[in-house]
């Protein structure tokens, strides 16, 4: 205990040097924690925008549906799958798709109708939050329609515009109906922007003569389960239907994200290395500077072991103190950025791709490991960096050490 007491006193004997060393370590720790949290946040944001807008973590389809998109390739037992998902707390949204014609005055466009259950859709995905204007579909059927951004522009439609819908219904008849535009979506990907027309599942059933049948069930556990866990869980009841993770559904985006993650990890490794080397350098210099002082200690009869202990204790205390202070400030900053994302929209607007929108906000994701790792690393680096010159000094001849410059 006396060792630590002496070490503590020694630290403040040259408060200027201690302060400089501490500042370097505290700053490095902060930089590490915050940059780690921000990179993690960016990766999370990207994954989130893919899975949480409309795709979900996994989807169920008839095995032929994605190839041919025929209205007759529907999921054979949607109720069973929905119940199974509900039993495990997985949010599930059933969707029916159909192609048809939307027209307003002399303008018309071919669109893909999504018959959705607005309540289930809202709890599964966040499409409702990506409204440019107007309101999302009401919970009950009422011939309201929500349009993709570019589709609305093509049709010259605004909130309240009356649209004529003509489709080839499942029974071969010509389904037709009038819908009122209730909302227009923000950009969420080129294809959807041009062709998305959301309607209530009951309106869809009437229009297409297609009651209680669905082509897709999107599954989202909000990250309590991995996509693979969801897939294997739902496969127990899916029968002939195909359950695929979003990685399998969107291989291009998935690969791009993996490459991106790899790149970020490299950046992160460089950050860690740079910060570690910075602290190493500071500690080395601080200890080398004290070699004459160590020589004096030896000359008055201090054993090498005692000197080593003394210096290690100092480095230990200094390391703990600064990495803890750095850890606290870094955590506080990360938490701040988690709640108040950095707004980059001044430099670039968010972009959208393959049905996913990436925002121009960078938010942090705070994790326990993202704090502990930098703290422990900083402490370890400072301790080891002090040990080497300490060992060297302890073995020096006192006279030479005292005159060491």
């Amino acid at each position: 205990m006396i060792t630590f007491k002496i070490a503590w006193r020694n630290l403040w004997r040259n408060s200027k040097r201690t302060f400089i060393t501490m500042t370097a370590m505290v700053l490095s720790t902060i930089v590490l924690i915050v940059s780690y949290a921000l990179m993690l946040g960016m990766m999370d944001d990207m994954q989130h925008s893919i899975t949480d807008i409309s795709v979900g973590q996994a989807q169920v389809h008839h095995p032929r549906y994605l190839l041919e998109r025929s209205i007759y390739d529907m999921i054979s037992n949607p109720q069973q799958i929905l119940e199974k998902a509900r039993s495990a707390g997985i949010e599930a949204s059933p969707r029916a798709f159909g192609f048809g014609l939307l027209s307003s005055g002399s303008k018309s466009a071919g669109v893909q109708f999504w018959g959705i259950d607005p309540i289930l859709e809202r709890s599964t995905g966040e499409m409702a939050k990506y409204l440019l204007k107007g309101t999302y579909l009401p919970d009950h059927a009422g011939l309201s329609i929500v349009l993709g951004r570019k589709l609305a522009r093509t049709l010259n439609a605004d909130i309240g515009t009356e649209l004529v819908v003509v489709v080839q219904a499942a029974d071969g008849s010509l389904g037709n109906e009038l819908f009122l535009v209730s909302g227009i979506m923000k950009g969420i990907g080129e294809t959807l922007d041009r062709s998305l027309a959301l309607i209530h599942r009951d309106d869809f059933a009437d229009l297409f003569v297609f009651p209680d049948r669905f082509h897709e069930i999107a599954l989202n556990s909000k990250n309590t389960l991995t996509p693979d866990e969801i897939t294997s869980f739902i496969s127990q009841v899916s029968g002939d239907n195909e359950v695929k993770t979003w990685h399998e559904l969107m291989p291009g985006v998935s690969d791009m994200l993996d490459v991106w993650k790899g790149g970020m990890l490299i950046f992160l490794a460089i950050f860690f290395l740079a910060a570690g080397l910075g602290v190493l350098n500071t500690m080395l210099m601080a200890t080398f500077e004290r070699i004459p002082e160590i020589g004096l200690l030896k000359a008055i009869g201090t054993t090498p072991w005692r000197i080593l202990r003394e210096i290690s204790a100092e480095a230990f205390l200094l390391g703990i103190l600064s990495s803890l202070i750095g850890g606290l400030i870094g955590t506080a900053l990360s938490v701040y950025f988690q709640h108040y994302p950095i707004d980059l929209s001044r430099f670039a607007e968010g972009f959208s791709m393959s049905g996913t929108a990436f925002s121009a906000n960078v938010s942090a994701t705070v994790t326990i490991s993202g704090i502990i790792w930098p703290v422990v690393l900083m402490w370890l680096v400072s301790f080891l960096a002090a040990l080497y010159p300490a060992i060297k000094a302890a073995r020096l001849d006192p006279v030479r050490a005292m005159t060491h410059v």
Binding site: L101, V164, V166, Q168, A170, G172, S173, L174, E177
Partner: protein
């Protein structure tokens, strides 16, 4: 000239085949016509039956209105030149079919909107030649093989027309795509007197790649040369 002199037989045959094709083309076409028919569509997913009434003038104008079933009563299609409009009584709107939807099915049948628009004379769009003459399945028939003229706006790579030898009554028409794969067959049967003409009253379209599916028209009655004017085929009349 030399060619004609050297093969007078071929020239006579050319005339003959043109007459056969024109006969088939004109069978259901007067200067104008009005008729009612039933249409039965059978697909692997649904089958439906409708009763239609239709007016036509030359090859440019057609107006078709659904009489039955009740759910679709008064739904109507107007073809004028290369355009098609549908009238939807439920929403009381007339919709012009956009070019992107021309390849789509007409009223759930095996006919597309394009089939309605692209009515033309076979003898004008194709080069033709008699490729078979004699007994087939117990009937004496003439078979003509038609290949598209280079400048003709047709979708088929080859068409074969089969008629009865004695009265040139059509029996079947086979349509092939540009890879010479058969895509669909139109067969004619139930030959009887209708509107003062002898006609096959039953026309059946069979898509080759969808076994078991067909669309069948049965003419219930038909009148020719009513003296309809062009302005009869108006958007106003479409709505009735």
């Amino acid at each position: 000239m030399l060619l004609f002199i050297s093969s007078p037989g071929a020239f006579a045959q050319q005339l003959d085949s043109r007459d056969i094709l024109d006969h088939v083309d004109d069978l259901f076409r007067g200067h104008s016509s009005y008729g009612t028919s039933s249409m039965k569509v059978v697909t692997s997913h649904y089958s439906r039956e409708m009763t239609l009434e239709a007016w036509s003038k030359d090859k440019d104008y057609t107006l078709i209105r659904i009489l039955k079933p009740l759910k679709e009563k008064d739904t109507a299609t107007l073809k004028a030149g290369n355009n098609i409009w549908n009238y939807l009584p439920k929403v009381n709107r007339v919709i012009k079919v956009p070019s992107s939807m021309m390849g789509g099915s007409w009223m759930g049948s095996h006919f597309t909107n394009d089939d309605l628009v692209k009515e033309s004379r076979m003898a004008d769009d194709y080069t033709y030649e008699i490729t078979f003459q004699g007994e087939k399945d117990g009937k004496s028939i003439i078979e003509l093989t038609l290949l598209p003229r280079p400048d003709a706006a047709v979708v088929w790579g080859k068409v074969t027309v089969c008629v009865r030898q004695d009265d040139w009554m059509p029996l079947s028409i086979d349509y092939f795509d540009e890879q010479m794969v058969k895509k669909r067959t139109m067969s004619f049967s139930d030959i009887k007197e209708l509107g003062g003409r002898t006609l096959p009253a039953r026309l059946r379209m069979i898509p080759t790649d969808k076994p078991g599916e067909y669309t069948e028209f049965i003419y219930l009655d038909i009148d020719f040369n009513l003296g309809l004017e062009n302005d009869f085929f108006s958007l106003r009349n479409l709505k009735k």
